[in-house]
Subunit: 204 residues, 4 copies
């Protein structure tokens, strides 16, 4: 399926593809054995998408989750963040928060650091998108239900056009992934595949 | 279960309990027969919660969805909003957007109008909460997965403490409601019941 | 001087041209005799600008200041808002908050209600501009140093292109008006005149 | 004059006290000879204020202006930012953007990076203040009319209580400094002196 996008007005937004999340030596791979393998196909497809976006001259934004040493920037009332603080994980300056090699930014691509779920929460993402006159977001990220869906919801609420590449997202199990891509994302924006995107980008 | 809340720092936030959503003569009751009956128990519990909040002196904020005539304020790229525009529904000045009688605001309560999913999206909710020095949100609303969960996600991302009264929310079916209260909300904040809240409020 | 604007991406944003501010029977005309006469030339020029914008098909947004009955929505720590509350002025539903006849919205134009200085503060202005794909703001409003400059500063900080029509703004005295248009606005955006705009719009 | 502040709810927010701005070897000292000397008294008073805040246990937030290499994060339509890009100044990773020694952060203090005028624009400042339950901002920064006043305006619009320490701010000349502290800041919040703050903090 060819997507109707204007490459000069579109950003590919990649979320949380960092070592702690998806690398076989990362935090979650150790905490939940099998999770890196589970995410690997989505990572591989996202790498294809990233290559296609670069060739087509589409702006790429890499969103990265990390907290300051000591985690003074977690919301202490939000359980998943309180747990991250208790575990001392995903701290600035560590290997864990770096992007995985397959999806690492190249010179000239925008990197945005976040502390919460949505890529817009307490970040300059909104301002950067306006400065670069980007009105359509193509979203890929992990996990589907939080960083990806949370950013898609927020983008829709702010007035953006949203396209989520569902097979470039992954969750902790099939049920959760399916729920998001079936019951939430089609109401918030469009859902498409990595193949849809690469086919579209290669025709630009 | 008694909630640990400071009534002077807490807001009860009710979302989208409007005629078009839950009244037996409203838009959704006609479009999806049985939906008003489905929501009725949550409405009844929310009415008890509202009474308890008023007695305890907890600030109440009523959030209302509505669009201008002609719907120039929908995000045209967001399917559920494009459909609302096509149906011409939920327009300012109509009976449908009024709060249902059982949950209507009384003098002195704050009413916030929204155009999207989250109660914060393009609204003054954040500013009002800061002015009134409110840092904990107790959320009840319909439907669970959109207005309630969307506002809970956004509030958590902004740094608020979030408590969702899950039996004061309802969705289009049990699966969707259960998903949100099991797989999303407990990670974003606390989940509690109408009875938890009324017990807590009556002890203030 | 011809402005380089794309009419399909530009909004004319008019701020606070309401009875309480500039009508001879309004609040400020009585509190500060001579203020309505002082503002009259700017109002007349803004009326020309509005006519030109309508003819050219440029989107018009009217921003209106007003508070709820009892002023629960002022920032009590902000002196000018605390004074507005003490005076009980500019309340929703009163004649004072209506736009003056010469600059009243026509059907299909967007009206945004605000409670603070900037037209973006706690409003849907940012979201409406994105939905309508508007990236350049042409600003006219009263008073120069607050609603106009405050909105211009905020728009620049959010990534918009800002053009202020300085002779479509007025302040409480010449010194204050001159300060803003000389020492602040040229650093934040572009400054132009009503004649620049009407010349530009008539050539569209 | 003793300020009425609750130290547990107050943040001292220091803005743009960086080498490029106020160090004798910095960008502005070279571009505008005499500017470092002009700012020195305000820097010295701010150092006293910072010491007093630390002793009193008041939260300190250091706000820092800097752009990515190549300046993809300036608003190209905002003249002062376009000039910064043309000059290639204030780039991440350079000495110029570091805080001056006298006002350098110590471990545990919050540092926020910004790209525009207001400390809130595209930053996590708002979220951090809510997480730490801080509702009063004591502002010191350079220059008075931009970073300090811009942040004060924005904070007031968002519902914070604002106190500006006027002699801990400085501008490019006396006229500009006086204008802000006389005609703008007293309407937006409270104005006080370094001595007011240190007297207050030492009594905590």
């Amino acid at each position: 399926m060819r997507l109707h996008i204007d490459p000069t007005r579109t950003a590919l937004v990649l979320l949380d593809y960092q070592n702690y999340n998806v690398h076989p030596d990362g935090y979650w791979a150790k905490a939940v054995p099998g999770s890196a393998e589970r995410a690997a196909p989505a990572v591989a497809r996202t790498a294809d998408v990233l290559t296609a976006a670069r060739r087509a001259g589409i702006t790429v934004v890499h969103v990265q989750n990390a907290w300051r040493e000591g985690h003074p920037d977690v919301n202490p009332h939000t359980p998943w963040q309180a747990e991250a603080k208790a575990a001392g994980r995903s701290t600035e300056g560590t290997w864990g928060i770096e992007f995985i090699d397959a999806l690492a930014p190249v010179e000239g691509e925008l990197v945005v650091r976040k502390r919460a779920v949505s890529g817009f929460a307490g970040t300059e993402l909104d301002r950067l998108l306006r400065i670069h006159d980007l009105s359509t977001l193509v979203i890929a990220g992990i996990i589907t239900n939080f960083a990806a869906e949370g950013t898609a919801r927020d983008a829709s609420d702010r007035g953006f056009r949203v396209i989520v590449l569902t097979d470039c997202c992954e969750s902790v199990n099939d049920e959760m992934h399916q729920f998001s891509i079936t019951h939430v994302l089609p109401f918030v924006g469009e859902v498409a595949s990595a193949a849809d995107f690469t086919e579209t980008a290669s025709a630009i």
